[in-house]
């Protein structure tokens, strides 16, 4: 459907395994836009603050690519509760699952950028407001590699 298409009618990278060592499914958000300098200005930041939009542009630019925009990203491990009246919240902390992972299978040749969320004002990275590192690995094509759940 239109709000998620890239090339009409194709999905780019379906989640082929969404699992973790504790076998609790990791939360992934599909609704919230990446923060940008405008978002930090709304939050009262004066001057520059690192943000996912700029990080994603920077990641692409390291490969010599200049995308026309940063589309609303897939937010891995981000917990955005939804209520039936449509209200969203950031109040809940992320569900911490140390070692939790998501495995994505590329269904076409892709360039993917990751940004470890630098948000330290709102509690989306936990109440301590301390962004943490995340890691990724590119696996050989093997349908079940690493899947435990």
């Amino acid at each position: 459907m239109a709000n998620r298409w890239s090339i009409p009618g194709r999905s780019t990278a379906p989640i082929s395994a969404n699992s973790c060592r504790t076998s609790i499914p990791a939360r992934t958000d599909t609704l919230i836009a990446a923060c940008d300098c405008y978002r930090y200005a709304f939050l009262g930041v004066e001057g520059y603050h690192d943000n996912c939009t700029d990080n994603l542009f920077a990641g692409m630019s390291e490969l010599g690519l200049v995308p026309p925009e940063v589309p609303s990203p897939l937010n891995l491990f981000m917990n955005i509760p939804w209520s039936t009246d449509g209200a969203l919240s950031f109040a809940a902390p992320p569900l911490p699952i140390p070692g939790g992972y998501v495995q994505l299978r590329a269904e076409m040749d892709l360039v993917i950028a990751f940004s470890a969320c630098p948000q330290d004002i709102l509690p989306i990275n936990g109440k301590a407001g301390k962004p943490v590192a995340a890691h990724f690995a590119i696996a050989e094509q093997h349908p079940n590699v690493g899947v435990t759940a």
């Binding site: 459907m1 239109a2 709000n3 998620r4 298409w5 009409p8 009618g9 609704l31 919230i32 836009a33 940008d36 405008y38 978002r39 200005a41 709304f42 939050l43 009262g44 930041v45 004066e46 603050h49 026309p68 925009e69 609303s72 939804w82 039936t84 009246d85 449509g86 209200a87 969203l88 919240s89 330290d120 004002i121 709102l122 407001g129």
Partner: protein, 272 residues
């Protein structure tokens, strides 16, 4: 002082400032959203009408709006859904952004009193009148694939309508943002599945969208992909471009939250 300490200092200062701003914001009485407009409410004075047109089922219209003008979109039959995208006229890289609209207002439900934001932290359109309050920010409009699934054959659809409208002003696929769809009562259940609430559609439902910057908007009168009626929309919609009253100091759309007040400050600077 190490770099890490400096970064932490900046982070803590930002946080203190945010907490102060939030506390200041919370001292204000939280503003409830206004009641929906009655179906026979908010008549437009004849002298305020700039233009009026009907958009046949399956077709689209491009409308240029000056800041302060409003567009009334009327679902005359109660069985249409209208998908909308829009760009700032002077700089089309600035455009409507559904994800920021939901994020900044803490809600994916838009209704009277809410605004549609751009990708540059400014307000594009305000919902100054709205009878139904049942619209879709999440799913998007119809596509060739969704119409094949619904009707067994590819029919006119919003995605191709947007491409045609964009091409006429020199824009292309990459200029087309996710759309908002009016008169599309989509909600979610506890498992994240989409629901369609047919009972929230009535003949004559309308919205008034006030332009907060000079705009080109495109409206596509195509069935929403989740509409279970599975009928190619057979009815036209009505668009009425009119001069809105200038917003008062306590205009509901401009004052819902500190973040929205700031979004209007950033918007007003364009015209200062």
């Amino acid at each position: 002082m190490t770099m890490a300490q400096t970064k932490q200092d900046i982070s803590e200062a930002n946080r203190r400032r945010y907490d102060e701003l939030r506390a200041a914001g919370q001292e204000l009485t939280p503003k409830a959203l206004p009641e929906p407009t009655a179906l026979d409410g908010a008549p437009i004075a004849p002298g305020a009408v700039i233009s009026r047109e009907q958009v046949p089922a399956g077709w689209y219209a491009s409308v240029r709006l000056r800041r302060g003008e409003a567009l009334r979109v009327v679902d005359d039959s109660g069985c249409s859904s209208v998908s909308l995208i829009g760009w700032r006229e002077e700089e089309t890289s600035e455009r409507i952004n559904c994800a920021d609209t939901a994020k900044v207002q803490w809600s994916a439900a838009i209704s009277k009193g809410r605004v549609l934001l751009s990708d540059m932290g400014r307000v594009v359109l305000s919902l100054i009148e709205d009878t139904g309050g049942a619209h879709d920010l999440l799913v998007g409009g119809s596509t060739p694939a969704s119409t094949r699934e619904a009707f067994g054959a590819s029919t006119r659809n919003s995605q191709e309508n947007f491409l045609s409208a964009a091409a006429k002003i020199g824009l292309s696929l990459r200029d087309i943002p996710p759309c908002v769809t009016f008169f599309a009562p989509v909600s979610l259940d506890g498992k994240g599945r989409f629901l369609w609430n047919s009972s929230r559609k009535r003949p004559g439902d309308f919205v008034d969208l006030r332009a907060e910057m000079n705009l080109v908007v495109v409206l596509s009168n195509c069935s929403h992909p989740l509409d279970p009626a599975r009928l190619p929309t057979s009815e036209p919609i009505t668009l009425i471009r009119h001069r809105a009253s200038p917003p008062s100091k306590d205009d509901p759309c401009r004052t819902t939250s500190p973040e929205i007040v700031r979004a209007f400050e950033f918007t007003d600077r364009l015209f200062a």
